[in-house]
């Protein structure tokens, strides 16, 4: 099983820092400084995961992502700068698995990498079990039940669909659009319904809705259920 992580980042200094951090933590690294180089390395080396900088000079980072997604499901984590909120969402909607905002701490980067690999494995190998468990939250897909602290909670159909979708992608951030498309189809724009539904879900499963443990809001992007 390959242990290589491909870093597509035009700034050589940052690229080598990331490479150092990853090497310390047991990964092999490949470094590409342009989009084209990144695409060809992705094809020839078949890495375990790709770190993609959205601010590439020649080729748009999103383009590189779409290109790779045409023939590969390899987990991709995009590196974005804080000023570009829209790029992040666009990247996620175009197939990126997760994002990290520059400047990031080493711990955060490593955690996201591990998470992305883990989720990828889970989806590939088991396809999700019949039951989802995280802390006191338990979702039984077959019986269509949600339990908190072993107490059954009643959910409306939409709420249930949302929580199932999030749990099947636990650890991964889902954009508002992705959730809305899956639940209400591609033609609805209003994210308010989603926000209100998630707020109601929170009131049912979280001890403190203002301090959630299970469903985290990624401001401006979407929701992520913790694993």
């Amino acid at each position: 099983m390959t242990n290589k992580i491909l870093i597509i980042e035009d700034d050589k200094k940052i690229s080598s820092y990331i490479s150092t951090i990853l090497s310390i933590n047991g990964y092999e690294t490949l470094q590409a400084y342009t989009g084209e180089m990144g695409i060809s390395l992705a094809a020839s080396q078949v890495p375990l995961l790709i770190l993609l900088d959205l601010g590439l000079p020649n080729m748009d980072g999103i383009e590189v992502l779409k290109h790779i997604r045409e023939w590969s499901d390899v987990p991709v984590i995009v590196l974005s700068s804080r000023q570009n909120e829209k790029d992040k969402v666009e990247a996620l909607d175009s197939g990126a698995n997760d994002y990290v905002t520059k400047p990031f701490g080493n711990g955060e980067l490593l955690a996201r990498i591990r998470s992305a690999i883990r989720i990828d494995n889970r989806i590939k190998n088991s396809g999700g079990g019949a039951v989802f468990e995280n802390g006191n939250l338990q979702i039984d897909y077959e019986k269509r039940l949600v339990r908190i602290n072993d107490k059954q909670i009643h959910f409306t159909p939409i709420e249930y669909k949302i929580i199932v979708l999030l749990s099947q992608n636990a650890g991964k951030v889902m954009t508002y659009d992705q959730i809305i498309n899956q639940l209400w189809g591609p033609y609805s724009y209003d994210s308010q319904i989603l926000r209100v539904n998630v707020a109601n879900i929170r009131r049912k499963i979280e001890e403190n809705p203002a301090d959630p443990q299970y469903i985290i809001t990624e401001i401006g992007v979407g929701y992520r259920m913790t694993e």
């Binding site: 200094k13 820092y17 000023q83 400047p103 203002a210 301090d211 401001i219």
Partner: protein, 370 residues
Amino acid sequence: MSKKDSVNFIAAIHEPGIMMKHAAAPIIIGMTMALEELLRLFGINQVQLALLFVLSTFLIACCTTSYIVNLSAAIINAFLYDFFVTAPRMGFSFTLGLPITLFIMLIVSVITSATTTKIKEQMSLAIELRQVAEERTQTRMMAEREKTRSNLLRAISHDLRTPLTGILSASSIMAERTKDPLAVDIRTDAEWLIQMVENLLMVTRISDEKSRITKKDEPAEEVMAKAAATVRKRFPNCSIRVKAPDDLIIVPMDAMLMSQVFINLLENAVKHSSTDKAILFELHLEGRCAYFTVSDYGNGLSEELLDNLFGQHPIGNGKPVDSVSGMGLGLSICKTIVNAHNGTIRGENKKEGGALFTVCLTLNIGMDDK
């Protein structure tokens, strides 16, 4: 006179106002008659006097656009000429002369009138076009200025952020490898610097664009949760208690900016409270205002801080860098952001001890609050 001035001048002559326009005809005719009598006394003969009446018709057509007025004036002039000038004097001579005179007058009048109208139309069109072109140039210049400014900001932010990120990464690696406290300090300061750069850039963007921020309806509890989570990541040992009402409160705001404000306030509370009692981060509604409060149980705010809480603190007044300017710069940024939301921010000491910061944002007007 510049070209613009001469255009305006000619336009002014041809636009003396409706009342004056219609008054011009009788005035000119009157003047012509007076002039005619005068010249007759000096023995000017018929031919020259004829020219006088033609001139009169021409002038009237220049001043008035109304065809009725012009044609009437032409006819009147023809008859006046025939009556007063040609033989028999003070009588009409219905010979061939009168129709010819009439005909010529009418032609002169019509052609002049048409030409004048055309000129006026074209001139007002030219003026309009010039105005439109000017407006377009203005808009284009403003757009270009905006673009230059945002490009400049982006370049600065990139130039500042890149080496800072490098410093942060390098010091993080060193801190992990060697656990050297110097490396840890460098990393902490680098993190703080990066935060400040981001905040300053955000604020520059707001004040440049004249407080134009885009507000979106956001569930207040989500923004609060995110702020608390971010602060907890940086200060793992802090304890923050987040409280929001049972009802879902939607507040129009720029989530990124307001979460920066909350993060600033929470971090100040964490850094300066110096006790283990939990910091309370609470939201409650009163009327149409959402009140976000951050209260700690620390030392509270000093007198001199309270004097100028949200203004800029002068650097180099002898205080250690960390305590005063760390709080001051962040708070003035908070105030800018809150003001841009048309909200208020306040800081005070609590009677029980500790500091209390209150941010007030207005809810949607005219929406049903469920």
